[in-house]
Amino acid sequence: MKYDVVIVGAGPAGTVTARFAAESGAKVLIIERRQEIGVPVLCGEGVSRKIDEWGMLEGKRWIACNMEGARIFSPDGTMVKLSAEMAGNETGYVVYRDIFDQELARQAAKAGAKIVMNTNAIDLLREKDKIIGVKAKQYDDEIEIEADIVVGTDGVESKIGQWAGIDTRLDPKDLETCCQYTLTNIDCKEAYCDFYLGNKIAPGGYIWVFPKGKDVANVGIGVLGNLSEAGMPKKLLDQFIANNPRLKNGNPIRFLAGAVPVANPVETVKDNIILVGDSARQVDPITGGGLTHCLEAGKIAGETIGMAIEQQQFDKETLSSYETGWKEAFGKKLKRNYMVKEIFLDFDDKTLNMLADSLKDIKFDEISTFALVKALVLKHPTLLMKLRPLMKISSEA
């Protein structure tokens, strides 16, 4: 059977791309190797309320909790409080990712996309050098699916990209290696997403506590790959929980391992190929948040596919209006935040403490660069030197 588009992976990037491609008239097939969309959940489940504006999800069943903001704790425990609007991509709602993903899949199906499960892409299908679809394994059978466009939304593994000759391999310094407990029997009455920083707490990353209810939260850790060792994230997280009065009596109801690309994005189009979401490394390199980008980029990808089908042109040049589109939407931010990530990595615990101490009294809903600089210089003049590269970046962006 031939389709206009075959989409590999039914995460948010895949199903949103599918929906908008189908809505613009394309014949769409999504293949997913799992047996249930969104399960197992591999996510901290924090997402910005920006998604309300896009109106891609109906109802409220996917929302676990409304967040008032974020609190960032420096290594010595100094707290900086941010309102949800200031706190960026991962604060606003804490969601049920399984329901969230399934709702997006429902929308894709409603638009006319076909979803098949238990189907694992194992290679691209080619005719001479031209990509004409994917080979997949469905139970014990090998099947061939022909399509004019193959979309790689296969997440962090990004095999579709690799098979198409795009260098998606991650350097360990561009990967946060993670694990997370969902803990119950803890106190989360205050609706804040908490972030704990420190080179001993989580080298090159952070520990997060995202409430999913009054007594339940996702408690996870990300450690930068080049600073990690076998099993280190789990060890550090267990240690943190055991020593934290609020968490130590918690009981786990879920445990997961995860991997977040914190890299510069890769090439996202080639002849007959598009990559969206984690497979394209469209993740905020500072926070590790990817959900909003999947939705934004997925919509643009779907619309580009619709246009390509109408013109019956599937070459790189035609598809590159997708790349231009997502770069306009959030490309600059990713690039800037990648540089910020590199600068932050040089900060020792003392610098982080000084930063937090300077920022702790600022009201962050009325922030300006000037107010920030003033606060920093007044309290800890030596910080100015360390922050100079950061200020350079923010004045250019």
Partner: protein, 66 residues
């Protein structure tokens, strides 16, 4: 004797895909819901072993080298 090849403990692996994304040889892939090493492709660089957040990968000598 060569270096030990990577092997995934299928009872521990939680299928996060991290090891797959860092392997320089495309020697890892997801199979039956767990990561799996294709031994012939593995060059024993141990990057995947360090990356696994829960310590599910270790080094093992190929059967013909023991």
């Amino acid at each position: 004797m060569g270096k030990p090849k990577a092997i995934v403990d299928r009872n521990i692996c939680l299928a996060c895909g991290g090891c797959i994304s860092v392997c320089p040889q495309d020697a890892l892939s997801m199979f039956g819901g767990r990561a799996l090493v294709t031994e012939e492709k593995c060059i024993s660089c141990a990057i995947c072993i360090r990356i696994c957040p829960i310590g599910a990968i270790s080094g093992r000598y190929a059967a013909n080298e023991i």
